[in-house]
């Protein structure tokens, strides 16, 4: 399909270039200050540099001048390549609300932003330096930059977040404890060669606009880790100081003075006090305990009105409101090439409704934007003229859009054995008529394919997408006939049974957990009918108790299989979450995933053991070569084992967008790591008035 430019090999190159240049952010600070640009166009009318909405407030005296709201001229971030011709300020963009993990990334501003080629580019940070030994990272911030409430954003906000909210403790069991949400956190881990202990990095304040990260061993992927896994490595200290628990009279786990750790001016707040202070500040900040408080206000803060952010728009609604209104941040620190403060659009409304209703509301002209499920493509397309919008297609690094992941750590030993049998996965793969499914589910828009990287990506392997994709129920039956533990003949309902053990005489039954958000029911119903032909029973158990899915995934060995609708893999070693044995949402890995509180140990010499070891190796990889080698090994393991049985793949991400919304970059790559629409920089879009 149209994966033309894609995710790169050139990561190592960029990294070294960054190190050599000394400061990766230099090239994006232009020589001439943006404030001076109008002088070059004397004949024309003066360019309006801020939204009329804000100009009114300035005129009324309730908001400082634009120049006081932006960082110092040299430190303004200029969106050079996204500047449209004749942009207009104002307007309200009404779009679908896909939940906090949808509207969050839409406005997200990370310290570093991951680029489409796998590198990083400074964003909130102005630039960085790496010491020659690769152990010290110095991060430069933007002088004069402000939070959305007008308070200055400084190095103390970064260090405070890391030292008092994120990594609050480092215990003997080598656990890094995040005080604010009570979880272990491991993105900054490196192994100290002196004592062989894996320790968290040390983050300190150098001056108001400089932060330092000190590692124990080189970790070339640290900036990527920050860009993906700890996107918001900063928090408004002035806002949090009485609702975060700490005690500066006690020595910090780093052993350093509280002043260099971002704790200057702090004394002590207990967890109870923090909860009480939050509730006293606003009834909306009433939480049941400190964990809740941390998880909500500290971690998923973007859903809370009044919490200062660095984003282009900030939440202005109650969480119980049906429509979330995001209003422009008057202190947003980016401008276009001609010096206009971004964003162009004044308000973004995230409209919550039943998923089935978005298409009709697009057609009725009540929405400006909706994310399109592939199955609804014909509907959206047919309504384009009626609703005065266009359906755009972007690219996504899609491995599969319809697949089954069998849990390799399932608690029933007989099923575990069956799932580990590659012939079983082979049979499931060729038992399904991918072309017919494509017609029914996706109007023929998908690609019948095995779960693997699509052509055009760096991870593409010739032939991997074609493996075991030929529809052949007879061969599938023959494969199953060859598995001794299940019968060749069928029971009264038409299913194979176990021949021995605790399940003897019982049908081979897979409980498949669907995905509540993505109309998986039809796909699963189809799969069930194909599986029946080969004597395997498939039952979907999503609808009755939706969240048992997550609960069972967390338990790691309760879920039997998972239907995965959209598996995108950005880069196997930059982010191994879906291909390696790490996270606890990854069903095929099951409880072997390293993030489980007590992960299971795979059998010695098994394919799963290899994956687990590779994942461990990657987490402390000291050179790019090691990381790349692990990435390749991941891909090979997936090719050899077909851990994820993929049926269809959709490499296009469709978006319906009103025709009055301009400057939308339809060519952006859409995936979690690049923050979906965030990668298309919504703050550079504008609405024709």
């Amino acid at each position: 399909m149209k994966l033309k430019k894609f995710l790169a090999l050139s990561l190592a190159l960029i990294m070294t270039a960054g190190i050599l240049a000394g400061c990766g952010g230099k090239e994006e600070t232009p020589a001439e200050t943006p404030a001076e640009t109008p002088a070059e166009t004397p004949a024309e009318v003066e360019i309006v540099k801020e939204s009329p909405m804000l100009a009114e407030l300035v005129a009324a005296g309730s908001l400082p001048e634009l120049s006081e709201r932006l960082p110092v001229a040299a430190d303004i971030m200029v969106e050079t390549d996204k500047t449209p011709e004749n942009p207009q300020y104002g307007g309200t963009l009404r779009r679908n609300n896909g939940g906090e993990w949808d509207y969050g990334p839409f406005t997200e501003e990370p310290l570093f932003r991951l680029t489409e080629d796998g590198g990083v580019t400074p964003n909130v940070a102005k630039g960085y330096d790496v010491s020659d030994d690769g152990l010290v990272y110095t991060i430069y911030l933007r002088e004069g930059m402000k939070w959305s409430d007008g308070e200055p954003f400084t190095a103390h906000d970064v260090a405070f977040y890391y030292n008092y909210m994120l990594v609050t403790d480092f215990t003997e069991e080598n656990k890094i404890v995040s005080g604010y949400n009570g979880t272990t956190y491991n993105w900054y881990k490196t192994t100290d060669p002196a004592d062989g202990v894996t320790k968290p990095a040390i983050v300190t304040v150098v001056d108001d606009y400089t932060v330092q990260i000190q590692l124990y061993a080189p970790k070339p992927l640290i900036l990527q880790n920050i860009a993906i896994d700890n996107k918001w490595m900063f928090a408004p200290k002035h806002w949090y100081k009485d609702i975060v628990a700490y005690d500066t009279s006690v020595e910090h786990w780093t052993g350093l003075s509280h002043d260099v750790l971002g704790g200057a001016g702090l004394t002590a707040v207990t967890e109870e006090e923090a909860v009480a202070n939050a509730a006293a500040r606003n009834a909306r900040f009433t939480f049941d305990d400190y964990t809740q408080l941390g998880n909500q206000l500290g971690y998923m803060y973007w859903s809370y009105k009044d919490r200062p952010t660095l984003r282009a728009w900030t939440m202005d609604s109650e969480k119980t409101d049906q429509t979330y209104v995001f209003v422009r941040n008057p202190y947003f620190w980016k401008t276009d090439a001609e010096g206009r403060q971004l964003p162009y659009i004044d308000t973004v409304e995230m409209v919550t409704m039943d998923n089935a209703l978005y298409s009709q509301e697009m057609i009725a002209g009540n929405l400006d934007m909706a994310s399109v499920d592939v199955g609804d493509f014909p509907t959206y397309k047919a309504g384009e003229a009626m609703g005065d919008y266009t359906v755009y297609s972007s690219v996504q690094p899609n491995w599969t859009s319809c697949s089954i992941e069998l849990n390799q750590s399932y608690k029933d030993p007989q099923y575990a054995e069956l799932f580990a049998n590659i012939d079983f996965r082979h049979a499931l793969s060729i038992a399904v008529d991918r072309n017919e499914m494509n017609e029914i589910l996706y109007a023929g828009l998908a690609e019948p394919a095995q779960a693997a990287a699509p052509a055009g990506t760096a991870q593409f392997i010739e032939g991997a997408r074609e493996k075991w994709t030929e529809y052949d129920p007879a061969a599938a039956n023959a494969l199953l006939d060859g598995i001794e533990m299940i019968s060749n003949d069928r029971n009264a309902d038409g299913y194979r049974t176990f021949t021995s053990g605790a399940n003897a005489g019982k049908p081979v039954l897979i409980n498949l957990e669907g995905h509540e958000k993505c109309n998986s029911a039809e796909a699963i119903a189809l799969m069930a009918q194909y599986y029946k032909e080969i004597g395997i029973q498939l039952i979907e158990i999503t609808n009755t108790a939706r969240n048992t899915r997550q609960q069972k995934v967390t338990n790691g060995n309760e879920i039997m299989a998972l239907y995965e609708e959209n598996l995108n893999v950005f880069n196997p070693y930059v982010r191994p979450d879906r291909v390696g044995a790490n996270r606890n949402i990854c069903t095929w890995v099951g409880k072997y995933g390293l993030e489980h509180a007590e992960p299971m140990t795979p059998a010695a010499g098994s394919e799963m053991e290899e994956i687990v070891n590779l994942t461990k190796e990657l987490s402390t990889a000291a050179t790019m070569e090691t990381a790349e080698a692990v990435g390749e090994a991941f891909l090979q393991s997936h090719l050899d084992n077909t851990w994820i049985v993929g049926y269809l793949s959709v490499t296009s991400k469709y978006t319906a967008l009103g025709n009055d919304v301009k400057n939308f970059d339809a060519d952006h790559i859409s995936c979690d790591e690049l923050r979906f629409y965030g990668n298309a920089k919504p703050y550079t879009w504008f609405m024709e008035q």
Binding site: A356, L357, S359, Q360, I363, F377, P378, T379, K381, A382, G383, D433, N435, E436, M437, N438, E439, I440, A443, G444, L445, L509, N511, A521, E522, A525, L526, A528, Q529, K532, I539, E540, I541, N543, T544, A545, T548
Partner: protein, 373 residues
């Protein structure tokens, strides 16, 4: 009544000699709508019983070839000449912009409709679940397709699914009705006959049950059902839940009937002559308001039919490939469906007809049950 209406016509003598049942039948026959409804329901139930024979497709058939195909017209004349019932072959095209399927009749190709056709096309089934058979009422010859009501998003014949769905949508409410009536009768008569604290307890129970908004209650209860149950079992359990909620109406009426009848002379007489309580209730009291119970029975069914569609709409009922009218209506929960695939609303007509028919039947029975009025 007499005040505002003309006097009844004079009755002939047979009226005075007819038994109660004969009178009821005569009265019922006069209620035209009720008669028509009864006939319609008999037709519906007969079709449902022989559903696998009537439906050209089985529940588990689907096809990627015929996704969202509108109803296929049945023709009799080809180029002006009589051909008997036939359909033209279907050519599938895809709209290059929207990717929607477009089906065009291939007028070159004539596929006659065979009645009582034998063959694998419609799949095998068992008559009344017993005798294996593969004869279907009608089928197009060759690779022709008769989609009387069009097809759904999985390329399944809607007509077949309506017919097969009737097996669940028309019969399970009957089970639910029996349960409801049994519970209502039991509770009502216990309360009414014994009175005192029994009555008090049952009254409280009735109030508690009646105070819950139905839908949230269904939602809560259905969330409690084990996920591994088969669709039919799920549906059965949902029916039981429905009847657990709907019995208090009947119970209340039965109770008050009991209170009024208890003081009647004939009950007193029975009691004095030493009849046991059970005999008094079953032989004397219940028959005296049997008509009310019958009416209540016919009126419970339609509310259960509508209830089923609601549960399916919320995703709490049956799931594909199992089919019921509620499952079929689930696909119409989008405005675009009506816009682009209007035929998918056809199942609604059957829900509508069945509900109305039961209501009219109930009306007719109510009038008939009191033949002396």
């Amino acid at each position: 009544m007499a005040l505002f209406k003309k006097k009844n016509k004079e009755r002939d003598d047979s009226y005075y000699y007819a038994s109660q049942w004969q009178l009821m039948y005569q009265k019922f026959r006069k209620h035209k709508l009720a008669m028509a409804s009864a006939v319609l329901l008999i037709v519906f139930y007969t079709i449902a019983i022989f559903g696998n024979f009537v439906a050209p497709q089985g529940t588990e058939q689907f096809s990627g070839e015929y996704v969202n195909c509108g109803p296929t017209p049945i023709h009799f004349f080809h180029e002006g000449e009589w051909e008997g019932p036939f359909v033209y072959g279907l050519k599938r095209d895809r709209d290059p912009v929207t990717y929607m399927n477009i089906f065009v009749e291939d007028t070159e190709k004539i596929c006659h409709i065979d009645f009582f056709a034998e063959g694998d096309k419609g799949g095998e089934y068992k008559i009344l679940g017993l005798i294996p058979c593969n004869i279907h009422l009608f089928q197009a010859e060759g690779d022709g397709q008769v989609f009387l009501f069009g097809t759904d998003g999985m390329g399944r014949d809607l007509f077949s699914r309506v017919v097969l769905g009737a097996q669940i949508s028309l019969f399970i409410p009957v089970v639910g009705m029996i349960l409801t009536v049994a519970l209502g009768l039991l509770m009502g008569s216990l309360a009414g006959y014994f009175g005192g604290w029994v009555d008090n307890v049952i009254q409280r129970l009735i109030e508690v049950v009646r105070s819950f908004p139905n839908v949230p209650l269904w939602m809560a209860l259905s969330a409690a059902l084990p996920a591994t149950l088969k669709p039919a079992q799920v549906f059965m359990l949902m029916t039981i839940i429905l009847s657990l909620i709907s019995w208090p109406n009947l119970a209340r009426t039965v109770r008050s009937q009991f209170f009024s009848i208890k003081k009647e002379d004939f009950i007193m007489a029975a009691r004095i002559s030493g009849a046991p309580a059970s005999a008094i209730v079953l032989r004397h009291m219940i028959p005296s308001f049997l008509s009310y119970i019958i009416v209540n029975m016919t009126l419970t069914i339609p509310s259960l039919i509508v209830g089923e569609t609601t549960l399916s709409f919320l995703g709490l009922g049956l799931r594909s490939p199992a089919t019921s009218w509620g499952v079929l209506l689930q696909e119409t929960n989008k405005l675009e469906t009506i816009m682009f695939y209007g035929w998918k609303l056809i199942p609604m007509i059957f829900v509508f007809l069945a509900v109305l028919a039961f209501n009219f039947l109930g009306d007719g029975l109510r009038d008939a049950a009191d033949p002396y009025k």
